[in-house]
């Protein structure tokens, strides 16, 4: 039974499923480490998913039999631009206007959901597919049994997601920007007294979060499923926010959480297809149940940003 479930293709698909969580949760980690909670990740993901899908659809030549690299690059670029704008808007609402972050995030989510649905219905009359990022075939490596299927037959965006983890760790811990970012999230008053602009650092962090959330959406619509439909992301943005807590605000912790969650999801999908006698509705709850249980036991580490959701204002 276990052998039937835990196959190389299930693990490979688990790794693929982790991709959008990694982009979105690492972006959210940056925002939260600077003290800004953005619950609107889901909405930005939907906009990123739609806009990159639209870009690829428009630019891929008619009757193309395979993918078009330029169209894909343009699709990612469109997602980055949309993420930039949404990040800027989020930062303006949360940092400059000092909105209540839990509530403003819901607003951003609903905006993203509504806008992406509207644009999709207006520009596409039916569900269509695009030629998304193809699996890369490495000579020799891809043909290794098991390992090859799990690690060396993924697409570029999957590798990008995993490369993001050490990169994020490096930026947070080894650069002056990372130090400023951590300081601003822990004690903005201290950072301010050291001549750091709390506002500027938080804008940067939130914009990084917006771009990565948007790319997370793109990774689904042009890097995995290769379609767009209403509410494509289906709550993954909210799971990404939970993964940041689960990972104690550390890139590697976020990665372990994302892998655990997506592997359980892959197993559950497999279990439904081979039919193990448990209703699929119950099985599909397991990843979410697991998240709740894991969050209850996840420890509050020293890295938890003490100033999370607290706007900064000089006491004047």
């Amino acid at each position: 039974m276990i052998e039937d479930l835990l196959t190389a293709s299930v693990i490979a698909s688990g790794i693929r499923l982790a991709m959008p969580y990694l982009y979105a949760a690492i972006g959210e980690t940056f925002g939260q480490r600077s003290g800004v909670l953005n619950l609107g990740v889901e909405g930005v993901m939907l906009l990123g998913a739609y806009s990159s899908f639209w870009g690829v659809y428009q630019l891929t030549p008619d009757k193309a039999t395979s993918f078009d690299p330029m169209a894909l690059a343009a699709g990612v670029l469109v997602a980055v631009l949309v993420g930039l704008l949404m990040g800027l808007a989020t930062a303006f609402i949360n940092v400059t206007l000092q909105a209540e972050q839990g509530i403003s995030g819901i607003g951003i989510y609903l905006f993203g959901l509504g806008m992406s649905t509207l644009l999709f219905q207006k520009n596409f009359s039916q569900v269509v597919t695009v030629k998304g990022f193809p699996k890369i075939h490495f000579p020799v490596l891809s043909d290794i049994p098991l390992i090859g299927e799990i690690f060396f037959r993924q697409n570029l965006l999957v590798y990008g997601a995993f490369a993001l983890i050490p990169l994020a760790w490096f930026v947070l811990h080894k650069t002056t920007f990372g130090l400023r970012l951590r300081a601003v999230g822990q004690n903005p008053e201290a950072a301010d007294s050291m001549g750091i602009s709390v506002t500027r650092v938080r804008y940067m962090a939130v914009i990084i979060g917006g771009v990565l959330a948007s790319v997370a959406g793109a990774s689904m619509s042009i890097g995995h499923l290769n379609v767009f439909q209403q509410n494509l992301t289906d709550g993954r943005g909210f799971i990404a926010v939970a993964l940041v807590y689960f990972g104690s605000w550390r890139p590697y912790g976020v990665m372990y959480g994302a892998l655990l969650f997506s592997l359980v999801t892959a197993l559950q999908i497999k279990a439904v297809t081979i039919g193990i006698g448990i209703p699929s509705e119950l099985l599909s709850m397991t990843p979410y149940l697991l998240t709740i249980i894991a969050l209850i036991f996840a420890s509050r580490r020293i890295d938890q940003p003490a100033a999370l959701t607290r706007p900064f204002e000089r006491g004047e």
Binding site: T175, R180, G195, D303
Partner: protein, 521 residues
Amino acid sequence: MSDATPQLLPTGQSRIEHMEMRGIVKRFPGVLACNSINFDVRAGEVHALLGENGAGKSTLMKILYGLYHANEGEVFLDGQRVSIHSPSDAIAHGIGMIHQHFMLVPSLTVAENVALGQRSAREPLLDLNAVSKRIRLLADTYGLRVDPSQPVWQLAVGERQRVEIVKALYRGAALLILDEPTAVLTPQEVNDLFKTFHQMVKDGHALIFISHKLHEVLAISDRITVLRDGCVVGSTPTREATKKSLAQMMVGREVILQYDQPPVDAGAVRLKVENLHAQSDRGTAALRGVNLELCAGEILGLAGVSGNGQRELSEVIFGLRPATQGKVELEGQPITGASPAHLNKLGLSYIPEERMVDGVIKDFTVAENLMLQDHARPPYAFNIFVNPRAVAHHCAELIRNFNIRTPNQETPLKSLSGGNIQKLILARELARTPRVLIAAQPTRGVDIGATEYIHQRLLEQRTKGTATLLISEDLDEILALADRIAVIYEGEIVGIVDRAAASIEELGLMMAGVRRESTAS
């Protein structure tokens, strides 16, 4: 000092020979915080800025450091007019500030805290090795022991203070603003700190020392300027000043610095704490076997540096925090784990340390705050209804008796001054003539006038036979009021001494954890 070439400090920075603030005016909504203040400091001197809370000391210094902007007035450095719009401007001009509440990020290491906001030699990468090296150099020059690689949350308060000074020196501060730097230190740590200040002054730094502790100001400064209500009351060389003259300048009238107390007439044991253990908010051991006995008609002072279990002890006694082990007895009855409401009925009163958080509801009115505990009891309530006449009558009496300055009973509490809020809490807690009173930091952040008043009321309760546990980080307060003094260190009572037999040096050692045999009866 008539050298043509500018002199350098040991840090390699040029000195600030003369800093002058002229005609500084700062208005907050409804308050004139600084009323055309003139203030100056020279290289090689300590100029103390003395005044009560709210006198304008911190505001004036925050203007100098660029955190606030003055409505009027000018700042001159060595005769040049400068405009300081932000802390980075101040830092660039060689001005550093040690804040009353440390400006450190606890999760970062000492080196990271120091490097924060500084350009790195390897921008955009951090270069913590280079930073650590320079920290060690500065630490050696000024006798400031710090370990650059240690996370700040692991450091004791005295060490954090040293990190703050290193941080300012690292940024090339030639002029240092010290905002109540001794507030949280033991007497020995204060001595060490003063040694560092002397060294800095000798090297040519200019220091501004803000305090309301008269003896410290007299010990460290060369000149003293006293502020009251946003105005300079006077400026005097330290050698011509006395405690009495300074206190009078601060308050505007004569102040009693020593109280006459009738000899203690200690009665039966009212409160007994036995082998009490409890955890802190972070889950570490905060109390580790506390034993105390509190008798009728005495004030037992609990001295200690903040964060050694004082808050947890008062919360466990008052039922706000569970004990993990041990027991508390009130007049022979076990009360461990009883609810605050029940303890209130038994005659236990509590003046909490964080008065704005645990003592009052700041958006409620004065009357509502006064009735927080008793509003549901006759005669203030009839069944489920409040009896407004009885409440109004009772509140009027308390406001009058305790000299609470408020426009009326319906005034929102948050518009009262700190001293008046504390008087309100005192009124509420003492109105029930408690059997036992736990007073945690009853005069912290309260002006001298209100402090004096609160002290008198505590002594009055003592005469009436109340057993009082006075928890204070201010040794002067404990020495002025307590009959016996217990010292707490890392959740244990290090020793208990009679006030008559206590010396500041000895208490200071105990506050640093040096154990001592009990001499109190």
